[in-house]
């Protein structure tokens, strides 16, 4: 027997203005005469143009999916290299080599034409900073302390470096000339994901492992904790769904995508992840997964709606360094209009 709702459908509310909504809620806006709903993000990863050579632990620069730099890091033989590759939105070109100490696990700050490559490991942890002007690299003033696997934010003239393998709460501000210590993170972090803010005084978000100083192995679990930078100090924010190390991250602190990395399963085994999570300024939620699970990306960047995942390491270890690129096209969560035609 047919039921009333199967014949007539469900009623939705008629409202003069969009309400404060929950994801999935639907209503009729009597002012715009449209059906409106609060959507989840519908972003997706697609394959992009691969980098000319496999890289992991490289530095990445760039704030869009049409311009990027990948430099230094390790090649598939795990040799530290000096090549620099530039992306113009349609193809990769090898440009002037890295002229500094060959390093991996660097933090990148800035764009394809004005950036910094900070710290890294050669080994040991290095304080070196190299400045990129769009054509070539030159030396810049060193960090206050050698750092590897730190997280970089901001621009070439107003940058922020946080966490890393030596001083894991340490936060340093770059004013275009030199570094000074500022308010530290609340929790030790290394190998985190990070959102690129406009400058060091804009908001940013960082994730990462709580403590990697474990002789002979990693932690039994990875922390899902995150912190948000408000331009002055760090505060705890909503957690990741899945704690992970060495993910990629892109966007701003109110629309941030974290992807890939390595996790541990209940048997304490390392598992590469292809999962992505989206941060809306308050909390994380799952969004489109990558095609290829990876970690230790060249940390480049983009926005929460247009980004690239660059190269990285896959399985089987230890020599599985890839040139794979995936492009993110994210449709942000929010109120949408139902198109009827």
């Amino acid at each position: 027997m047919s039921k009333y709702k199967e014949i007539r459908g469900f009623k939705i509310k008629s409202l003069a203005s969009d309400p404060t909504v929950d994801i999935g809620q639907t209503w009729y806006n009597t002012t715009t005469n449209t059906v409106r709903f609060d959507s989840v993000g519908t972003g997706a990863w697609a394959t992009g143009t691969n980098i000319p050579a496999g890289r992991q632990k490289a530095v990445g620069l760039g704030t869009s999916n049409t311009s990027a730099i990948v430099a230094a890091g390790q090649d598939p033989g795990l040799t530290k290299v000096s090549e620099t590759f530039s992306w113009d939105g349609s193809s990769w070109t090898e440009v002037n080599d890295w002229n500094g100490t060959a390093r991996s696990l660097l933090a990148g700050i800035g764009t394809q034409t004005a950036g910094l490559a900070c710290g890294g490991n050669s080994p040991p942890n290095r304080p070196n900073v190299n400045s990129w002007n769009g054509t070539c690299w030159s030396d810049a003033n060193d960090l206050e302390t050698g750092q590897q696997d730190a997280m970089g934010f901001g621009t070439q003239t107003a940058g922020l470096l946080a966490g890393g393998g030596a001083q894991m709460k340490y936060t340093q501000l770059w004013n275009g000339t030199s570094w000074t210590e500022t308010n530290n993170m609340n929790t030790n972090r290394e190998a985190g994901g990070m959102a690129f803010a406009g400058t060091s005084t804009a908001t940013a978000i960082a994730t990462g492992e709580p403590d990697l100083a474990h002789p002979g192995g990693g932690p039994t679990t990875y922390s899902p904790n995150c912190e948000v930078w408000n331009g002055t100090s760090w505060t705890e924010s909503g957690n990741l769904s899945i704690g992970r190390s060495a993910p990629g991250g892109t966007g701003i602190s109110t629309q941030f995508i974290l992807y890939g990395g390595i996790t541990k399963n209940p048997s304490n085994q390392y598992i590469l992840s292809n999962l992505s999570e989206e941060f809306d300024g308050t909390s994380f939620s799952a969004t489109g997964a990558m095609g290829t699970a990876r970690q230790m990306f060249a940390r480049s960047h983009g926005t929460g709606t247009a980004a690239m995942a660059l190269a990285g390491g896959t399985q089987p270890a230890p020599h599985s360094v890839v040139a794979t690129v995936e492009e993110w096209d994210g449709a942000p969560a929010g109120v949408k209009t139902v198109t009827v035609s």
């Binding site: 697609a46 990693g218 290829t292």
Partner: protein
């Protein structure tokens, strides 16, 4: 969700499009194994990229073989290379797993 399996070489741009991702699930595993949602769109994608269809057992065998090779390579490393010499390497002995 039922899956189907193939081998295919990732040729970069256009190999998997954003439109594809909205039509079917797909993920890569070692050995250029692709686990593809078994619907018309997924099957069309395999044909489009010239993928070679595999049954699950064949795909699993390819992955297992590569993991075993990786485990042997890892086991042959000297102890100092297994240790986290470069900070924490996050390069670890591969672990066998079941394809979805």
């Amino acid at each position: 969700m039922a899956n189907t399996y193939c081998t295919a070489t990732n040729t970069g741009k256009g190999f998997i499009t954003h439109a594809d991702r909205n039509l079917f699930d797909i993920e890569e595993h070692m050995g250029a194994i692709w686990v593809v949602e078994n619907n018309n769109h997924g099957i069309s994608w395999i044909n489009r990229v010239g993928g070679t269809a595999k049954v699950k057992a064949e795909a699993q065998a390819i992955v297992d073989d590569l993991i075993e090779q990786g485990q042997a390579e890892w086991d042959a490393l000297p102890a100092e290379e297994k240790a986290p010499t470069e900070g924490y390497e996050r390069v670890t002995r591969p672990v066998k797993y079941d394809l979805p």
